[in-house]
């Protein structure tokens, strides 16, 4: 069905509005399968429409449109055709054909047998019957009727519908009176409301299936082999739409148009939406979008490239492959990037991102006055070599690895675990080795700190889920109880993967709650809850392993993780680190890597992953590559074109400083110190080993420091809140930091430098840059006003100056430029 030129209206429609037209629509179609339900997309003139989804039947030799509406003999299709500017509504009635009866029209083409798996199960999915909130609810479904999630287990669903409860759900003698249809159409009270209309094509198909005898389908029937979406990819302008077509390919070579029954979902709902009928509508944002298409356990992806089309002339120089791939992508989409940021911005940004702290006043002055053309690259090197890097990244990974204090007795273990992490980053231990040490950890915590992770996460399923999400970016949780809704993982995959963790033995040590972890001799296997059969350790997408009883299966897992062929391991890490530096991963969420959630820049992700693997999983190397690229150094100030971009890194995406970093920054700027229990005085907030400090420090809690309860970085909430604002505006804690003796405000009030120099120091200490002329004047003005009393007479004293500098300091700490990393 392609060209409107083959579309004829017989008789031709009149030009009046809302006139009823009698006649038939005829057109050529490549489909001849009677039960196909293609969609009619008509393009007339300059507009494009989609039709009402209709059920078409065809008979030789002519093709005719017929849609059943109300189960009677009236058939009508309604179309709205815009001819130039005249809207026209027309009803097409096939009165002639109707009056001859409703017997099957095609003598030479008998109606095929409808089978449950192929024809009925998809209807249940599309109508929303078998979602996790209704009849596919874990446990016993809804109100005694259980279906499998999204129809993954069609055989079981058949049993439930046709045979359960003595077949009360269907009425073979009068199909329209079947309970399943009465409920679905809300003819009798149905908690789920109306899921389909009486007489609709879905309804009719179920009626027909029941009337035919409810064939379940034979195992030898052609089964669904693959799903294809047309087009597979396309360039779409913003604020346009495009109708997708979904084809199901069967094992016998046949195919069927299943657009009306497929489920569509866009992977970035701020960029586009895909409605029930497969119409993809883009919004304002340019970039790369994927629409996931689901049908009967198979998925397909439509990739949309949404250009902006602006001229891309001034690109920063390419320093490495990151620049090449990021800027090429921007050229393709047509988004001109912002220019590279200035030195002060870069200094602050990269210090925060690599080492979690602001540069000191001295460091700032030194960097800004340094004329070496390579100073930015050198800065990256020195930051990577600093202990701040190890602290900051140990902090990041400690909460992901659930280094959590639940009991007071956890303290020693948590400190040990945190030290192990920090040591690993200090000596730049290869990532695969660290993962291996963690996975295969054996012994007790005192001698082998990574064992602490096993103390925290005890069941094989949970261990597997955490490892999968954290190190492979795969969310396996869903597959525990049913086939993963969006991915290829089945319960078999789930239990096969968790089998790696089934031979972990524990014996209690003298310390309460701590065990010695060891490998229990035995065949590693887990019971697949679906089949109740044992499964041996199976890495995702790989073959089942036969591991000897004496061998620790966790080491096999570690081998697979670190192997260069592993499709997930490197990708997950580089994506995570990309997000760390760019605020948005190439795949979002960063721990949800699946076929139906493709990266916004696939070449870049692949290149990063490859680089990471060939470097020997060198974490510093990947950070170096990122931080030294010009793509990372782009300014946060948008230009008129790229303001709208949120996906393609055309400008730096500013983000809120994290709780620990903000606290340390405030301390550094004010000259105060925060006190934390159990650690030496002067310990920075980013060096704190576990989550217990969220309890003792209201600041850390209210600014969202995570509680180490989840492997998802999303546990850290980065958005602002009323409580945060109140704390900054009016808390004792902030007040005390400002007024602390020998703090910055105090020393400035006492100092002999000029006011200009003092203000300059304030700016260097807080915003890591020189003040602008206007800012200097505002500050000087404030100082002079402070030094005059209410009557207008000069009143100068150190106390007054001190208060004025506290105010200035506070004001700078409260600016967005301070609170955000930009």
């Amino acid at each position: 069905m392609k060209h409107p030129s083959t579309l004829q209206m017989i008789p031709p429609p009149s030009k009046s509005e809302s006139s009823v037209q009698q006649g038939a629509l005829r057109w050529q179609s490549e489909h001849s399968s009677p039960n196909a339900a293609p969609q009619l997309s008509i393009r007339v003139g300059f507009s494009r429409f989609r039709s009402v989804v209709a059920r078409f039947t065809f008979f030789q030799p002519k093709f005719e449109l017929r849609e059943t509406t109300s189960g009677g003999s009236q058939h009508a299709a309604s179309l709205k055709i815009r001819i130039r500017t005249l809207p026209l509504a027309c009803f097409v009635l096939c009165a002639g054909i109707v009056l001859t009866g409703t017997t099957p029209l095609q003598a030479e083409d008998p109606a095929p047998v409808l089978t449950f798996a192929r024809d009925i199960a998809p209807i249940l999915t599309k109508s929303g019957c078998n979602g996790g909130n209704c009849h596919a609810k874990a446990g016993s479904g809804q109100n005694g009727f259980q279906l499998s999630l999204f129809g993954f287990e069609a055989d079981e669903d058949y049993e439930h519908i046709v045979k359960e409860a003595r077949g009360r759900r269907i009425s073979p003698a009068s199909p329209e009176l079947s309970l399943i249809l009465l409920k679905a159409t809300n003819t009798v009270p149905h908690g789920g409301g109306k899921r389909m209309d009486v007489g609709s094509s879905n309804y009719q198909r179920i009626v027909d299936w029941i009337a035919q005898g409810m064939a379940p389908g034979k195992p030898t029937d052609p089964h669904l082999a693959s799903l294809e979406v047309q087009p597979g990819q396309a360039t779409m302008q913003r604020k346009t739409n495009r109708q997708l077509k979904v084809l199901a390919h069967y094992s016998d070579g046949s195919q069927r148009d299943v657009t009306a029954l497929a489920v569509f979902e866009a992977n970035d709902k701020s960029m586009a939406e895909a409605d029930e009928a497969g119409l993809v509508t883009t919004f304002d944002l340019p970039g790369n979008l994927a629409v996931m298409v689901r049908y009967q356990g198979h998925v397909a992806v439509f990739n949309a490239h949404i250009p902006l089309g602006a001229p891309v002339d001034n690109l920063p120089p390419y320093k490495n492959f990151i620049d090449e791939l990021v800027f090429n992508n921007l050229k393709q989409i047509g988004i001109p990037p912002s220019p590279v940021c200035d030195d002060a911005t870069y200094l602050r940004r990269v210090s925060l991102d690599i080492a979690g702290h602001l540069p000191t006043v001295e460091e700032t002055e030194a960097f800004l006055s340094n004329s070496d053309p390579n100073k930015r690259d050198q800065l990256v090197e020195s930051l990577l070599a600093s202990p701040g890097y190890a602290d900051y990244f140990a902090n990041k990974w400690a909460s992901l690895l659930k280094n959590r204090r639940d009991e007071a007795s956890d303290k020693a273990a948590n400190f040990a675990f945190h030290f192990w992490l920090r040591d690993g980053f200090l000596e730049n231990r290869p990532y695969d080795q660290m993962v291996r040490e963690l996975l295969g950890a054996t012994g007790d915590i005192a001698s082998n700190p990574p064992v602490a992770w096993y103390k925290r996460v005890k069941q094989p399923e949970l261990q597997m889920e955490d490892i999968a999400q954290l190190f492979l970016g795969v969310r396996m949780q869903c597959a525990q109880c049913h086939h993963h809704p969006f991915e290829r993982w089945s319960q078999r995959d789930y239990y096969g993967f968790s089998a790696f963790f089934t031979q972990i033995g524990r014996t209690p040590t003298a310390t309460a709650g701590e065990d010695v972890i060891f490998h229990k001799r035995g065949i590693a296997q887990a019971i697949d809850k679906k089949t109740s059969l044992p499964v041996k350790p199976t890495a995702l997408g790989e073959a089942e392993l036969n591991i000897l009883p004496d061998e620790d299966p966790r080491l096999y897992l570690a081998d697979w993780m670190g192997s260069p062929e592993n499709p997930f391991f490197a990708k997950a890490l580089v994506n995570r680190y990309w997000k760390h530096f760019f605020k948005r991963g190439l795949i979002e969420p960063e721990d949800d890597i699946r076929e139906t959630n493709p990266p916004s820049n696939p070449e870049l992700l692949d290149a990063l992953a490859k680089h990471f693997v060939t470097s020997g999983f060198d974490l510093k190397a990947i950070i170096r590559m990122i931080a030294q690229s010009n793509a990372y150094q782009i300014s946060a100030a948008p230009n008129q074109y790229n303001e709208i971009d949120q996906q393609n890194f055309s400008h730096f995406y500013p983000r809120h400083l994290q709780a620990e970093v903000l606290l340390d920054a405030i301390d550094q700027a004010t000259g105060a110190r925060s006190k934390f229990p159990d650690v030496p005085a002067g310990t920075l907030a980013i060096s704190l080993p576990d989550n217990s400090y969220n309890r003792s420090s209201y600041f850390l809690k209210v600014f969202g420091r995570p509680d180490a309860a989840s492997v998802c970085e999303c546990e850290r909430v980065q958005s602002s809140s009323l409580a945060q604002s109140l704390h900054l505006l009016n808390s004792d804690e902030i007040r005390q930091k400002l007024v602390v003796n020998n703090g910055r405000a105090h020393r400035l009030a006492q100092g002999n430098q000029s006011d200009q120099e003092k203000i300059r120091e304030l700016y260097l200490a807080t915003l890591s840059r020189e003040p602008r002329e206007q800012e200097l004047n505002i500050a000087l003005d404030y100082l002079s006003k402070a030094r005059v009393d209410d009557a207008g007479k000069p009143a100068r004293s150190e106390q007054i100056d001190r208060m004025a500098f506290e105010d200035l300091l506070w004001a700078l700490l409260d600016t967005k430029e301070f609170i955000f990393n930009h």
Binding site: Q142, G191, E715, S720, S725, L726, L729, Y782
Partner: protein, 473 residues
């Protein structure tokens, strides 16, 4: 004879719809139920519906308060005589005379039940719909208050009140919280005893004019120096920061917010009517705040007014259960009825729903054990005293306001108050009823947890029809 019926939303048991004391008795036809379902809380952009939840930590003994069983043996009955109320046929115990007088202004739901026996699990089940019956140290799911605060904040409808939309006056915090929704949706917490003359709420108004001036100067200075704003206008995060700071400044400096929290602005008679004690003044403050525009309020009745152990958990080792209830009765009766009456008197009853509940009831069969310490409502150490343990299988709570029909008794328990025999309602239904009042489409909303799993908010419950606006029998 009542038929056991464990399908809560089913309007099929006419007996449970006996409108005691109400004129008219409509039978529930299918269109009637549909009308009921279609009815939703009226919401203009200006006035949003609100809920005040009074939380009784530890679990209120249903047999001794709202579900008396005067005709059973003394092993169950307890010493409190039943009294008749303003609703013919409804009896409460003698502990609640003021409740009895205004029984036509609230509903008693007697058929709450769930399976979570411990305080953590029971509280998490009731407040967040967590079906797990095992105790956990931290809630896995967000409580309804933070869910409602979150959904309302997401709606983006501008609020006219300077108050935060979720305020806790001595809120329950031990076994509930925002979980994966994030700490931004913790309540604005008011702790301490509002009855004390020096009661002061931090961050509401500043202590003196000098402080206010200084803060004003600082903020003005900051605004003049904050240049980032102009370059990054499109970033929603920065906008949100501005909004919150504006709201914070309002709380700190706007005299209206200070007034809302200032109980001295109330008539002494009103303060007396609520009761010059912590609980009474907590609820009075709640009423003031809801009038001033707060939307989600919780207040926990704990502390010394409960007795020695500070909550309602009347095991024999903690309290002499009957002494404890006597000890609390006056303050409780007075405060709760004052709030309910006030809601109606001040015309808040359409907008504001009041619900009073604990996490479960208490064992109908009285047991005896030795006290672990002397104190209010508890005999000296070692003395044998009566107690009741946790009982989630059946318990009661009361509902008022919210434009719902009142004077109803919903559900019933068996002769001993041990199990529900009519109109069983679970925590999901409890939550759904609250969400319904707040205009939240609970059956369709899913909030993604940290693993990306869409999680329902009312655990499959349905709003109890008798407790919804415009709906009932």
């Amino acid at each position: 004879m009542a038929f056991p019926s464990f399908l809560c939303p089913g309007p099929f048991d006419r007996r449970s719809f006996m409108q005691l004391g109400l004129a008219g008795f409509t039978s529930l036809t299918w269109p009637g139920l549909m009308r009921l379902r279609a009815a939703s809380a009226p919401e203009s952009a200006r006035e949003k519906t609100a809920v005040i939840m009074v939380w009784l930590p530890g679990g209120l003994s249903h047999l001794d308060c709202y579900d008396p069983k005067p005709n059973i043996g003394t092993e169950y009955r307890g010493p409190f005589a039943p009294i008749s109320t303003a609703v013919p046929g409804l009896q409460l115990t003698e502990l609640l005379p003021m409740h009895a007088k205004i029984a036509d202004k609230f509903n008693v739901l007697r058929s709450m039940h769930h399976l979570s026996g411990g305080h953590p699990a029971g509280s998490m089940t009731m407040l967040s719909g967590d079906p797990d019956t095992r105790d956990k140290s931290k809630p896995k799911y967000p409580d309804w208050m933070s869910v409602a605060a979150y959904l309302r904040a997401k709606e983006g409808i501008p609020r006219t009140s300077p108050l935060p939309n979720y305020v806790g006056i001595s809120p329950p915090t031990e076994y509930n919280g925002p979980a994966y929704i994030g700490n931004a949706f913790l309540p604005f917490a008011v702790t301490g005893d509002p009855n004390l003359p020096n009661f002061n709420v931090p961050n509401i108004g500043l202590n003196n004019a000098a402080e206010a001036t200084r803060l004003g100067k600082r903020v003005a200075l900051r605004q003049s120096l904050d240049l980032l704003e102009r370059r990054f206008d499109k970033e929603r995060e920065l906008e949100a920061l501005d909004e919150f700071e504006a709201q914070a400044m309002t709380l700190l400096t706007n005299p209206k917010t200070r007034e809302a929290f200032d109980l001295s602005k109330e008539d002494p008679e009103t303060r007396d009517r609520y009761g010059r004690n912590r609980w009474g003044q907590q609820l009075l403050l709640a009423r003031r705040l809801v009038e001033a525009g707060a939307e989600i309020l919780t207040s926990s009745f704990s502390g010394p007014l409960c007795g020695r152990v500070g909550n309602w958990d009347d095991h024999a080792v903690n309290h002499h259960v009957f002494d404890a209830l006597r000890f609390r009765a006056v303050a409780y009766d007075q405060a709760v009825t004052a709030l309910i009456e006030d809601i109606y008197k001040r015309g808040l009853d359409q907008r504001v729903m009041v619900v009073v509940t604990g996490e479960f009831g208490r064992t109908p069969k009285i047991n005896y054990d030795r006290s672990t310490g002397a104190g209010n409502a508890s005999a000296p150490t070692g003395t044998l005293q009566p107690g009741r343990d946790h009982w989630p299988r059946a318990f009661s709570n009361i509902w008022a306001g919210g434009g719902i029909r009142t004077g109803q008794v919903i559900g019933a328990t068996d002769s001993r108050g041990e199990d529900v025999v009519e109109r069983a309602c679970g925590p999901g239904d409890f939550l759904a009823t609250i969400y319904q009042h707040l205009g939240i489409d609970y059956s369709k909303i899913y909030i993604t947890d940290l693993n990306g799993r869409p999680t329902p908010i009312a655990d499959g419950g349905r709003a109890i029809p008798e407790l919804t606006r415009g709906g009932s029998v």
